[in-house]
Every structure is written in structure tokens, then in C-alpha cells.
Amino acid sequence: MTERAHLAVVGAGPAGLAAALAAADRGVRVTLVDAAEQAGGQFYRQPARALGARRPEALHHQWRIWERLRDGVDRHITAGRITHLTDHHVWCVDRESAHDKPPSNRDQHSSQSFTVYALCGPAQEEGVAVRADAVLLAPGGYERVLPFPGWTLPGVVTAGGAQAMLKGGLVLPGRTVVVAGTGPLLLPVATGLAAAGARVAALVESADPRALLRRTHTLAAEPGKLAEGAWYAGQLLRRGVRTLARHIVVEAHGTDRLTAVTVAALGKDRRIRPGSARRIPCDTLAVGHGMLPHTDLAETLGCTLSGTDGTAVRVDDEQRTDVPGVWAAGETTGIGGAALALAEGHIAGRSIAARLYGTAPDPRSWAAAARTRTRLRAFFAALDAVYAPPAGWADRLTDDTVVCRCEEVTAGAVRTAAGSLGAGDLRTVKLLTRAGMGWCQGRMCAPAVAGLTGCPLTAGRRPFARPVPLGVLAGLPDD
């Protein structure tokens, strides 16, 4: 082998960075491809350079880990072992099967050849192709938001989106914010917005924190995570943010933009307690109901999905997917936060390096990371059970509530499709109503349509991970 083995990493968040670092440390040549202007992903999202932030850490948690990661990757970039392609949106990864190629002395995982297709340039109309011997998919996830009356009003944003705009652009969505929904992400979002000067009128969490106590065994195994939660809770208290647990936002009000939300308390049966509704004036609602993994690229490659509802990429102990030469790490394999993404990325990078050089990796060499991975997966499985969206959310959607934001399909139309028209799966609902057919390809509405109709939430089977200009497709070489 004269040329160094070449790994393409899609995604420069905690998972992709940890993998790139581990692989490059072991001599692999790495091309890191990411849509963002700078490395970091969602958790370590950095302010744009031209904003000249001298204290970016003020909006961050675990800055030290980020510094170590960044410095390590920078060193490899300087040495020419890692190439970081920023502002490159990957829309497809293509595999040339092993038997198309002359036999090689490397093992099956290195006799692959992949092409990573990306779009770049300000208008994302220029095509770029990166060839590699192995691919790591680390595209992370995105937020799930379940609809409610008024959720399409300007001023209603995802909780993570508010956080991303704050960390990256140093802007606030408005002056008075309500943070609502369910899940651990609401804590850093409310804390970040309050620290940056927004008035956080309330943090509205539908789950019952007491349910956490029933899972103390799993949770206590993760003292660091518990301390993190307690730290956020302390910050919120200090800033006078009131937390309404077992409450939900029933409706967002306004004509052209948000002016208030109505919140209500949930009773023991997780249904709204009569007479508990009250109105909170605000110009922003940052809302989220957990996260979903990005799986498009993995699906096009033929990787099997698994997870609780079949929406995450399935990996083995080495973070290998079931497609030879393709690894996956981070939220794409299941939602579990930055520390889990780091551990998975580290394991993947070591496994890739060994496999590319034709040796069997020694799992003992990543035992610490594997233990972290086991603990954090169990921890997040326990959290998942506690932070499930409240029962009855679908019943509360009025028939005229928009469910598919892109195609403006209402809950009434979806109910009709599943009811009198007899649709039994998401695809049929889509064909009958256009829900999921718009720009976002069902990424936003699929969980809601599934919940409304009782159809299982299946992966989207999108042909491309990004919209691709026809000129780029036409310009591809034939083979």
C-alpha cells in the first residue's frame, strides 16, 4: 500500500471530531466534511469568526473538552493529515462494491471505495466529490416538535434552533421567551437565553420529574450528568426563571407573530386539569419534544436502522453499520448527548484505523470509552421513558391545526386520510394529503402524522439528504 488509507467523516460535531482525531492519531488520512462554517456541531457550535467573540465559552458547557478536541484536530490539519471541508452539504454517499475492484491485500473493510457528494458555494450549487476507503457517518440529529394550535406563528422556534442562533449568530429570538416541551435540552436552552439577556418567563416541562426518582439506580450511575442537571437548575433559580413541571403549552396566540401562550397543568392521568389554563404574554416560544437522528445518508447506503422506533442507525460494538466500510457514531445511532457522541466517535475512529490497516482492533484499547457508552446509553434510555410526550397531545389538535408546515396539511386532512380513506402507513397518508412531500421531506411532520394516525414512525426513505440542483446531477460522470 503506497497511498495512505483515506477516511471521509460526514459531520464535525463531537462524534465526527472524536473519530477524526482517533483515526488521524493512528495514521489515517481524514477528510472531514461539514455543512457548517466551523467545526463543533450542535453542542460546540461556535460564534461566527467575524463576530470576534473573546469569551465564546460564556455560552458553553464543558469548554475544556472542546479545547482539547479542537487543538488536536487543528494539529492534524496543520500536519496535513486532516482536511476540513467547511460549508459542504453532503447530499449522497455512494459505494462501489468490492468486487468491482481488483483484489487488495487489505481486509474487506478497506477494499471498499466510496464517493461523498457535497454541495458548496454560497448558493450551494457547486458539486464536489470526495473519494474514500471508509466512511464515518456522524450527522447528528434534529429536534422533534409536535404540533399544537398556533405553532406555525413567527416567534415560535425550536428550542435547539434558538440555541443554535444564539451560539452561532449571537442573537436572541425576542425579548420575552417561554421555553417549553419536554426533555433535557430545555435546561441549557433556558439557561443560555437567560444568560444572554432574554427574559425567560417560564420553563414549561410536560414530564413529571418525580418519575426520575423511580429510576434512581440507572441515573445514579451517571453522577456527572446529574450534577449537570442540578447546575442548570441552580442557574435557572438564580435568574428567577420559574419552572412549571407537568405543564404544557396548549396554544400559541397571535395574528402575524406570537404575542402569548396558554399553558395548562397536567393531572395524574396526564390530561389537562380543568380550570388550570393561564395565559403568559411572550414574543418567543422555544419549543421541543426530544430529538430524532439524521439517517438519510445511512439509508441510501443501505444501512439497517433500529432503535426504539426504527429511526436510528444500527451499529455493532465497534460502531460499524451492517454495510462494510461504513461506520456511524453520535446522535445518528440514537439520541444521547455530546458525551456519548464523543465516546462513540472515539471508538469508531480506533476501529476504522485498525480495519483500514487490515488488523483486528483490540476492544480493550477503548475499554474506558466503551464503559462510558454503556452507562450513557442506559441513562438516556431511562430519561426517554420519563420525557415521553404527554398522552393525549394528538387529541388536542383542532382539525384546522397545520401538521405539515411545508405543504400546510391540517390535522383534519390527516385524520380523514387515516379514517374514512383508510390509509394505514405514513406513505399512503403522504400520497393522499401531501403531508411530508414538501421541502423538508417529512422531517418535521412525520412524528406528528404517526402520532395522529397511529401509523408506525418509519424512516423517510428520502433519495437525497439535501435538495440537489438538477445541473449538479446532470454534471455527474456516468458509470
Binding site: 455543512a35 462554517e37 450542535q42 460564534p47 461566527a48 469568526r49 467575524a50 463576530l51 470576534g52 467573540a53 473573546r54 469569551r55 465564546p56 460564556a58 455560552l59 452539504h89 454560497p122 448558493a123 434534529y142 429536534e143 416538535v145 406555525t152 413567527p154 416567534g155 415560535v156 422556534v157 425550536t158 435547539g160 434552533g161 434558538a162 440555541q163 443554535a164 442562533m165 444564539l166 452561532g168 449568530g169 449571537l170 442573537v171 436572541l172 429570538p173 425576542g174 444568560a195 444572554a196 439577556g197 402575524d256 407573530r257 406570537l258 414574543d283 408546515r405 411545508c406 405543504e407 400546510e408 414538501g438 421541502w439 423538508c440 422531517r443 418535521m444
Partner: protein, 100 residues
């Protein structure tokens, strides 16, 4: 306190762009969406079916709710596109194409 103070930012020189013809101040490095948010503008698109206003929703390029017209180029995701001096940003109606 605001986010710029909190992070002790020293942005490059502010510049002017227009939103539907009126001047808006923007900072280098910001996206079109961030500049509009900072100017207190929450919406810059109307939907194809019912003409309802929309702005940022996901903030990370996934939902396509933030589509906008920049320098006559339609369907740009405001949350991803960097703002440049002199940009003419316009509210996008419907598909942004004449055929609508």
C-alpha cells in the same frame, strides 16, 4: 446584557442591507436570519397555500421554513446564508417563482 456583551464580541464593522427596501444594519459573520432577528424582524416569507407569515423554525437548515429571496435569488435558507454588505433581502411569497 446582550449576547454580544456576554461573549465580549468585537464584531467587524457593521454594514447595511435592505429588507423589503428598508435599511437594516447587519454584522459580518451573521446569517441573513440572525441579522433579521437582531433587527426585530421575525418573518420573511408567506406560505404558498394560505399566505401565512413564516421565519426561522429549526434554525439549522432542516425545516425550510425560513426561505427568503436574497439578491433576486429565491428559496435561500436564511438560517444558513451569510449576510453580505449591500444584500437586497426580500420577503418571499409562495414558491418564489412566477408560476405560482
Amino acid at each position: 446584557m446582550n449576547p454580544l456583551e456576554l461573549t465580549r464580541a468585537r464584531p467587524g464593522e457593521a454594514f447595511t442591507v435592505t429588507f423589503d427596501g428598508r435599511p437594516v444594519t447587519a454584522l459580518p459573520g451573521q446569517t441573513v436570519a440572525a441579522a433579521l432577528w437582531a433587527a426585530g424582524v421575525p418573518a420573511w416569507r408567506t406560505t404558498r397555500g394560505t399566505g401565512r407569515p413564516r421565519g426561522v423554525f429549526c434554525g439549522i437548515g432542516v425545516c425550510f421554513d425560513c426561505l427568503v429571496t436574497v439578491n433576486d435569488r429565491t428559496n435561500q435558507r436564511a438560517c444558513l446564508v451569510p449576510v453580505r454588505p449591500g444584500d437586497e433581502i426580500r420577503t418571499q411569497e409562495g414558491t418564489g417563482r412566477d408560476d405560482d
